[in-house]
Amino acid sequence: MKKLLLICLCFFLLSWKPPINLSKLSKAKKGLELVSGAAHKISEEEEYYIGRAVTANILSQYPLWKNSEVTRYLNLIGKVLALKSARPEIFAGYHFCLLDSDEPNAFSAPGGIILLTRGIVAMAENEDELAAILAHEIQHVVAKDPLKAIKSQRLKALGTFAAGEAIGSSDQVLNIFQDSIMDISGTLLQKGYSRKQEKNADLGAIELLKAAGYDPQALLAMLQKVKAIEKKKAKAFSAHPSASKRIAYVEDNLDQGSVKSGKSSRLPRFNRFVSRPKN
């Protein structure tokens, strides 16, 4: 019996925790978020809703090109790449779509929604080059670069609310939501990411292309095309650093010799879906 009591006592001591006020602890935790307010504090589900709103905002400025064949093709390529990324599982999965615009550009919204213009798709000469564009955008999602565009004051303000009373969906919170969307849209459409973010996305894209079996030289080929049109069309890739700089570091990080195997087997489907897309 003594042994039993001793075991009970040991178990009690092991499992006992001092009584705490959960409500106060929760508020204190949220208060800490107020101070730190970093992008990584945003949950996957929040990221998803931010991404939906950012996409809704972009789609109010650029019409969506509802071409089912090309959209499905993009989603297949994108999914192959995403599964090889450091973030293969994302709240609602990765989604890829087309914008009906001749302006060559590509955007990655939070939560894995990636948008490519008809203009940039038309620049790709094969599936590997299309994959290179997608890989670059996926790397922005993996790094949560779009979320980092939200000004810290917004997250700090949300932290302030959260540390106090339950806030539900007050107008103030809605305003913060909208302001956060505009921060991201502004970065995607005009301001652009930092050079460091772009460089990391390019270097990450090289690894992603290799991992999926695509030729990483395709990224270099796309950047050379961008360089060629950069001077002609000032608006194209206005949110990116100059192509010359990107080419320099991409070249430094590419292994000599491209991956030729399989490239030709992907050409028929590329020509089927992209070269002559049906409206």
Binding site: Y49, K84, R87, A166
Partner: protein, 150 residues
């Protein structure tokens, strides 16, 4: 009799202390997979909030057991460590997770999206069209094979 009781108590406490960690599915939908490979067979679909018992880690994959005792694999990016204990796996014992409570207190949620719907500068109808695109694993596997990809 007392010795038997002591032994039973010891066994019960040991099992409790050694019980596997509980993981919770944090993505909207995922699959319990037969192998640590996204293209392997799905043993069971999983929804957000489903609880899984961690059996062991294998690189970026977890070998887990679901609520009905099915063993399979899930990628580490699809789950989070749950704050609840193993009893939380039992169906019917649901409660808001810490993450869910934090989410409810913030503004990036469905409620605020509903308020923005119909507002100038937001085209959610087309977002829904984009989000409706889902690629089946069989189609993806065929695409990889045809294109000689990995």
């Amino acid at each position: 009799m007392k010795q038997k009781l002591s032994l039973l108590f010891l066994l019960a406490t040991s099992a409790l202390l050694l019980a596997g960690k509980v993981l919770v599915v944090k993505v909207l939908r995922s699959n319990l997979l037969a192998k640590p490979d996204f293209l392997s067979a799905s043993l069971a679909p999983m929804q957000k909030g489903a609880k899984l018992e961690l059996i062991e880690m294998q690189g970026n994959w977890y070998l887990v057991r679901n609520a009905v005792g099915l063993k399979g694999y899930v990628h580490q990016t699809a789950v989070a460590e749950s704050k609840t204990n193993l009893s939380g796996i039992i169906p019917g014992k649901k409660g808001a997770s810490e993450e869910e409570l934090a989410l409810a207190a913030k503004g990036f949620n469905e409620g605020n999206e509903k308020k923005l719907r119909g507002s100038k500068g937001y085209n959610f109808a087309d977002v829904d069209w984009v989000m409706d695109w889902n690629i089946a694993n069989t189609a993806l596997a065929a695409f990889i094979r045809e294109g000689k990809l990995k």
